[in-house]
Amino acid sequence: MTPLLQVRDIRKTYGSFVGCTDVSFDLYPGEVMGIVGESGSGKSTLLNCLAGHLPPDQGEVVFDTLADGPVDTVTMSEPERRMLSRTDWAFVHQHARDGLRMSVSAGGNIGERLMAVGDRHYGNIRERAVDWLGRVEIKEERVDDRPTAFSGGMQQRLQIARNLVTGPRLVFMDEPTGGLDVSVQARLLDLLRGLVREMGLSAIIVTHDLAVVRLLADRLMVMKDGHVVETGLTDQVLDDPQHAYTQLLVSSVLQV
């Protein structure tokens, strides 16, 4: 089986400060990988390099495209990369406002992504927008409201709908449940798990919440000071952490 994403030796520095370095891994279709670490450990830098939001200093991010097979997205032309990020890729931001257009209606937010890939029939677009609002548990009657009128949890669900409507194969998520209260978080986790299974999505999820990765991620990568210090199966890394930092991280979780 060809990996969906092959990451080789990614490095990103900010001046003399190392954002992340020596990162390599393969992600296979249907796999969900979690990246954990404290803030400043380089996990978001890495995610942004992978998703094409930041140019890495060195390294390859090879994506298995439908049309041409594996292609290095770092050296790909800007229009090609933009096309990829509208079709096969999706990016769920920590703050829904960064991933939504706040001055456009909920339906418009979802429809915009469909139009970007060439959909022009208003009826179809609206129908799919309503369908996706339902899937993320937003009532149909809110379709014409702007996201500014939504709660934080609803905005986050709308952002997920907007991202998944075009049927991406790889979803990048930056703290998707951060800042949400626990009841909303549980519903969102269930929603994401169902979508991952039904759509066969692969996902890379950056978070500092170990409970979230235990439920969502198959594999885990632990980062510290820009380096990957440990990788493995999620429950193996959490139940039998090998690296000193991971042991500290796991033993520091507060029990409820």
Binding site: Y28, E31, S183, A186, R187, L189, D190, R193, R197, R214, L215, D218, R219, T231, G232, L233, D235, Q236, D239, D240, Q242, H243, A244, Q247, L248, S251
Partner: protein, 227 residues
Amino acid sequence: MIELNNVSKSFTLHNQGSAVIPVMEGANLKVAPGECVGLVGASGAGKSTLMRLIYGNYLAASGQILIGDVDVAKAEPREILELRRKTLGYVSQFLRVVPRVATLDVVAEPLLAVGEDQAVARDKAASLLAQLNIPERLWGLSPTTFSGGEQQRVNIARGFAHDYPAMLLDEPTASLDAQNRATVLGLINSAKARGAAIVGIFHDEAAREEVCDRFIDVTGYSPQVAA
């Protein structure tokens, strides 16, 4: 089906003075299809450790852990995931689920994961829950609010939903009443009859005698403490 060769395990506690705690040495085990092997030994002897090594939760320090032709001690995460999806089932003592997911869906999930049709998976889940005396009015609720015994039965239903060729059972009959205990033993015996290789921990001696073909005392795998 399940074969362990010379498996050892130690824990290194980096944040507690880098203490190295050897917990297992020279563990050997062979379980054939249709056979149930009971792990025995005092509390702390390493029964659960051995189970977790087999399931891949714990990383073996050395040795081979073969499930079919996959060596869990060396396999890539995705190979272990595939193994857990199709081949190796685990009924743990604790239920760990996404909050707010209905019990019926919790039980059906392993079947959906192997690509079973939604309706078929739900039917199978419903029949298991009925067999284990979980009242139908609870099926639509999340098991996180259930009593300990109910949670355990949901866990067992989930563990037996898919017909795994190899199974690990950690105290499946603890805290169950006589009737449910008999149902669980029945499930174990029918799993054996269809050819599943089973490794189990049973503190309940009567249950142990009823389903296990032989016993392994894990005390023999404890590292010898230097005098």
